[in-house]
């Protein structure tokens, strides 16, 4: 049996307990009434009167407690369905690029030997079979939307609560700050129990971004990269590779694993034009200066635009990594390439695949808040099935009957002649 508002049931229980306590206190503190002619009351009636009064007290107390409990049960809106005694686990899996292949091992360890439902999410969420999890590669986005995953997971878990004795909700994610939005906290509160968070190590280590630049030492791109990140010659250590020229097969192979990024930044073609005043727009800001435009491949999603709306850079997936192709070249005249806004634009090119900004792990307290049950009762997702009207009517009728009995018990019996 489930209750839509268990708080009301608890409140009724507390009220019934309070009635019992008050009853006992009142019995203990029952004061004697001043009665000048008390001497004419027979002595021998004492014991029998106390016995009768005690019995009547117990009946009145029982009727009061029963009325309160029945009213509480009716208000708590009970419902029941045949349930299995098993435990089912709903695993909400972050499939964004931040999680990597380790998520599959974690999910399998959670799901071992039990009934499991799997919900995968990045920017959107969907339910898949556990067997299909191995075939599910990481999504193109590096940003997971935790709200989307929680909504889908809680919805799945809520439908299972009526059929299973226990439903566990597990979250497998690296839990980045960017995964939270304004509604995440409220959505989490719709699940009344705790959420087991299995935190993965982020596949992308953005704290030590090392860039390998394939350019001449005097190239301005080399100078720009040196200002924005740590430049290394060791491509094995680098997570970003800047290719001045056409994309080579070796570089493409290098970039297929570990979320590596390849920035294809070819030098301008001889016939390319220079904008009088060019403006580049990205998620991180706007840069104005003298640029040369170059044509770029139409594959991939735009990440940088010219002010007139044409695409200046695109990103396309490359297995677990990605390739960013640029179609602009800062003017070699002047120091516009080294300006602060240009430095910000360059950092945009180094962020993890699918991300617009750098990946930052959520704090432990944020994760703990995600794990612990909400203080208030959920209102939407865990709403119980409706109580049959006849059950409510029966409970209210029984409560009224108990009240009538209480009145009857309180009323003194007719005096014997």
């Amino acid at each position: 049996m489930r209750f839509a508002s268990p708080v009301l049931l608890i409140a009724a229980g507390v009220a019934a307990a309070a009635v019992v306590v008050l009853h006992l206190l009142a019995r203990r503190q029952r004061h004697a009434e001043a009665f000048p002619t008390a001497r004419f009351v027979p002595r021998q009636a004492a014991a029998s009167a106390v016995r009768v009064e005690r019995l009547r007290d117990i009946r009145v107390l029982a009727a009061r407690g029963l009325a309160l409990l029945l009213a509480g049960v009716a208000a708590a809106r009970p419902s029941w369905q045949a349930t299995s005694g098993e435990t089912v686990r709903v695993i909400v899996v972050d499939r964004s690029r931040t999680t990597g292949a380790q998520r599959q091992a974690v999910v399998r360890s959670i799901a071992a030997g039990g009934i499991t439902r799997v919900v995968v999410f990045d920017s959107t969420a969907r339910e898949i079979d556990l067997a299909a999890l191995g075939r599910d590669t990481a999504g193109p986005s590096a940003r997971a939307n935790l709200s989307a995953g929680l909504v889908a997971g809680i919805r799945t878990a809520s439908t299972l609560r009526d059929r299973y004795a226990r439903v566990e909700l597990h979250l497998v994610s690296a839990v980045a700050i960017g995964a939270f939005d304004a509604g995440t906290s409220r959505i989490r509160d719709q699940w009344p129990d705790s959420i087991h968070v299995h935190r993965l190590n982020a596949a992308l280590d953005t704290t030590r971004t090392e860039v390998a630049v394939d350019a001449a030492p005097g190239d301005q791109v080399m100078a720009m990269m040196q200002l924005a990140a740590a430049v290394t010659r060791d491509t094995a250590r680098a997570t970003v590779r800047v290719q001045r020229g056409p994309l080579l097969a070796a570089a493409s192979i290098w970039g297929r694993t570990g979320g590596r990024r390849i920035v294809v930044w070819p030098p301008p073609l001889p016939g390319s034009t220079t904008d009088s005043v060019g403006v580049l727009v990205s998620a991180t800001g706007t840069v104005a200066g003298y640029f040369r435009r170059s044509p770029i491949d139409s594959a991939g999603v735009p990440i940088i635009w010219w002010a007139d709306g044409t695409v200046a850079a695109r990103e396309r997936p490359n297995a677990d990594g990605c390739i960013r192709a640029l179609g602009f070249e800062p003017s070699a005249v002047g120091d516009g390439a080294l300006s602060l806004s240009m430095r910000t634009l360059v950092r945009r090119l180094l962020v993890p695949c699918g991300a617009e900004q750098a990946w930052v792990a959520a704090s432990d307290s944020t994760v703990a808040a995600l794990e612990r049950p909400p203080l208030a009762a959920p209102t939407i997702a865990t709403a119980a099935p409706a109580t049959p009207p006849w059950v409510t009517a029966l409970l209210i009728g029984l409560a009224l009957l108990a009240l009538l009995l209480e009145r009857q018990f309180r009323r003194p019996a007719p005096e014997q002649a």
């Binding site: 029952r30 004061h31 004697a32 009434e33 001043a34 009665f35 000048p36 002619t37 008390a38 001497r39 004419f40 009351v41 027979p42 002595r43 009636a45 004492a46 029998s48 009167a49 106390v50 009768v52 009064e53 009547r56 003194p412 019996a413 005096e415 014997q416």
Partner: protein, 287 residues
């Protein structure tokens, strides 16, 4: 007059105006009043002629009758006298029941004021003795105007509490010829009866007014513990089973009490708190 509502008292005094409270026997007082006196005297109201005897006052001879009959007759007339009345009120804790405006004490005070007004209107001196836990209130019998108000003011400040001795107060009634005892007679009952007997033997008129609360007659059927306000050690459970025996015992006691006082020559009237005070006063003065 704190503690007493003026308006009900005013209504009561209006209701009892014109009533007379005659003495139950001839009084022996010398001062002229409205009560029949044991004395025969010189008043214009002729009672009888008696043959002159040696020692009679010659001024009482009826000279016209002597001239017609040549026999000496003395003219005798009815004398009327005053009856000094003192009220002895029981201000014990048991009188403060039920608490509030319907208490026995309130009724006792109201009836006392009503009777005092009736007696005072007949020219009788009226006084008051109220033994209380904090001392005794004594107003000797007086006929002056305003003495009834004085009684009311004195009673207005009394709070019934404790168990003051009424029998001692009855022995200090001085030369009052009518002693009106207003009490519930709960406590020191033998001593009180003895004092009443002593007063009756002195030829005084003793008038007992027994104040009973309606709730004492019908205590209800709710089971509860009751305690005597004058004796906290007396605690008994009153239930609907025991209330029948209680009533029987209480009725028997009241009947025995009335019989005992009447046997000692006292008038005994039982008043219940539910009765209108004016009707009670009429009932008492006509008893």
């Amino acid at each position: 007059m704190s503690g007493l509502a003026m308006t009900p008292l005013s209504h009561l005094l209006d209701d009892v105006r014109g009533l007379r409270w005659p003495s139950r026997r001839r009084v022996s007082g010398a001062l002229p009043g409205v009560h029949d006196s044991r004395r025969r005297g010189m008043s214009p109201e002729l009672s009888e002629f008696r043959a002159y005897r040696q020692g009679d006052d010659p001024r009482q001879l009826d000279w016209k009758l002597l001239a017609r009959t040549d026999r000496a007759y003395v003219r005798l007339a009815e004398e009327r006298s005053i009856l000094p009345t003192i009220f002895v009120l029981d201000a014990s804790a048991s009188m403060d029941f039920p608490s509030g405006a319907k208490s026995k004490w309130t009724l006792a005070v109201t009836v006392t004021i009503g009777l005092a007004a009736v007696a005072h209107a007949s020219g009788d001196p009226v006084g008051l003795i109220v033994p209380t836990a904090s001392g005794e209130i004594l107003i000797p019998p007086r006929t002056r105007r305003g003495v009834v108000d004085e009684l009311a003011r004195a009673l207005g400040v009394v709070r019934p509490e404790g168990s003051p001795a009424l029998d001692d107060a009855m022995r200090r009634t001085g030369n009052a010829r009518r002693i009106v005892l207003v009490s519930d007679f709960l406590g020191r009952e033998p001593e009180l009866t003895g004092a009443a007997l002593a007063l009756a033997q002195q030829g005084r008129e003793v008038c007992a007014i027994h104040v009973v609360a309606e709730r004492e007659l019908d205590p209800g059927r709710d089971t509860r513990m009751v305690v005597d306000p004058e004796d906290p050690s007396l605690r008994r459970p009153l239930s609907r089973e025991s209330v029948v025996d209680y009533r029987a015992e209480f009725d028997a006691w009241r009947a025995a009490l009335a019989r005992a006082w009447r046997l000692r020559g006292a008038s005994f009237t039982e008043v219940v708190t539910s009765e209108p005070p004016a009707r009670l006063v009429r009932r008492i003065v006509s008893a």
